[in-house]
C-alpha cells in the first residue's frame, strides 16, 4: 500500500459519496410516494374516506422522535472512526442500534394492525398510506442491518474500509431519519 506522499486535502471518501448518490435515489422515491399522496388528495373530496378512523398521533410521533435522536450516536460513531477511536465508535453504534431495533419492532407490530384498520383493497387512501409506511419501515430495516453489520465488523478491528462503511451508514441514517419525519407529516396530515 502506497504511503501517501502527495499534498493531500481532507475530503470525503468515495464510499461516502456512493451512499450520498444512493440516498438521492431513495429520497426521490419517497418524493414520488408523497407526491402521489398529495396528487390523489386533490382528486378526492374526502381524504381519508369518511368511514375510516384518523391515523394515530402519539405513538408515531414518540417513536419518530426516538429514531431521529439516534442521529446523534450515529454522528459520534462517524466522527470517532475518522479519528481512529474504535471503542468509542463501537459503543455509539450499539446505543443507536438498540433504539433502532426497538423502533422497528414496535412499528412493524403497529403496521400489521394498521393493515387491518386501513385495508388497501378498500381505498386509494389506504393503499397509499400502507405503501408509504411500508416503504419507510423497509428502509429502517435496511438501516438496522447496516448498523448490525458494522457493530460486528468493528468489534475487533478498524480498517479504512470499515471506517468509510461506518461513515456511509451514518449518512444513510441521517437520510432515513429525515424521510421518516416527512412520512410522519403525511401520516398526521389528516388531522390538519
Amino acid at each position: 500500500m502506497t504511503t501517501v506522499t502527495l499534498p493531500v486535502r481532507h475530503a470525503h471518501a468515495k464510499g461516502w459519496w456512493g451512499m450520498v448518490v444512493f440516498v438521492a435515489t431513495e429520497a426521490t422515491l419517497f418524493g414520488t410516494l408523497v407526491g402521489t399522496y398529495v396528487y390523489l388528495r386533490f382528486q378526492n373530496a374526502h381524504w381519508p374516506p369518511e368511514q375510516l378512523p384518523l391515523p394515530p398521533v402519539l405513538t408515531p410521533t414518540m417513536l419518530t422522535v426516538a429514531l431521529v435522536a439516534t442521529s446523534v450516536p450515529m454522528h459520534v460513531a462517524s466522527r470517532s472512526v475518522s479519528e481512529g477511536r474504535r471503542v468509542r465508535a463501537w459503543w455509539a453504534l450499539v446505543v443507536a442500534l438498540a433504539v433502532q431495533v426497538v423502533y422497528l419492532v414496535w412499528q412493524v407490530h403497529d403496521y400489521v394492525h394498521a393493515i387491518d384498520v386501513y385495508p388497501p383493497s378498500g381505498s386509494a387512501w389506504a393503499s397509499v398510506y400502507v405503501t408509504i409506511l411500508g416503504a419507510d419501515h423497509a428502509h429502517v430495516l435496511v438501516g438496522v442491518l447496516l448498523t448490525t453489520w458494522f457493530v460486528l465488523r468493528i468489534r475487533t478491528r478498524l480498517t479504512r474500509y470499515r471506517a468509510v462503511g461506518v461513515q456511509a451508514t451514518a449518512f444513510y441514517w441521517h437520510a432515513v431519519n429525515t424521510i421518516t419525519i416527512a412520512v410522519l407529516a403525511v401520516q398526521l396530515s389528516p388531522h390538519l
Binding site: V38, Y39, R41, F42, Q43, N44, A45, W47
Partner: protein
Amino acid sequence: MSRTRLELLQWFGLFGGALAWTAEHVAGYGISDAACSVAGRQWGLDAATLQVVVGVAAGSVVIAAWAAALIAYRATNVPYDAPPPTGRIHFFAQAALLGNVLFLVIVVLDAAGSVYHLPCRQS
C-alpha cells in the same frame, strides 16, 4: 474580493436560479391543480394572483443568481481551462450566465400564461 465570497457568488449563480425555477414549477403546477381539482375548488383559490406572486418571487431569485454569476465572471478574467479555483469559478460563472437566462424566460412565460388563460378550462 475574498475567496469565500467569490465561491458563494459562483455557487449561488449556478444553483440559485435552477432551484428557484424548480420550486416555481412545482408550486405553479400544484396551484393550478389545487385550484381546479375536486377538493381544491372548495378552497376558492385565486390561482392567477398566486401564480404571479410565485413568478415574481422566483424571477427575482433568478435575476439575483444571474447578477451573482456576472460578478464572479468579471472577477475571474481567465481562460476557461485555467488552473483551479479561478479557472473553475470562471467556467461555472459563464455557464450560469446562460442557464439563468433560460430560467428567467420560462418563469416569465409561466406567469403570462397563467394570467392569460381562463381558469380551470379543460384543454
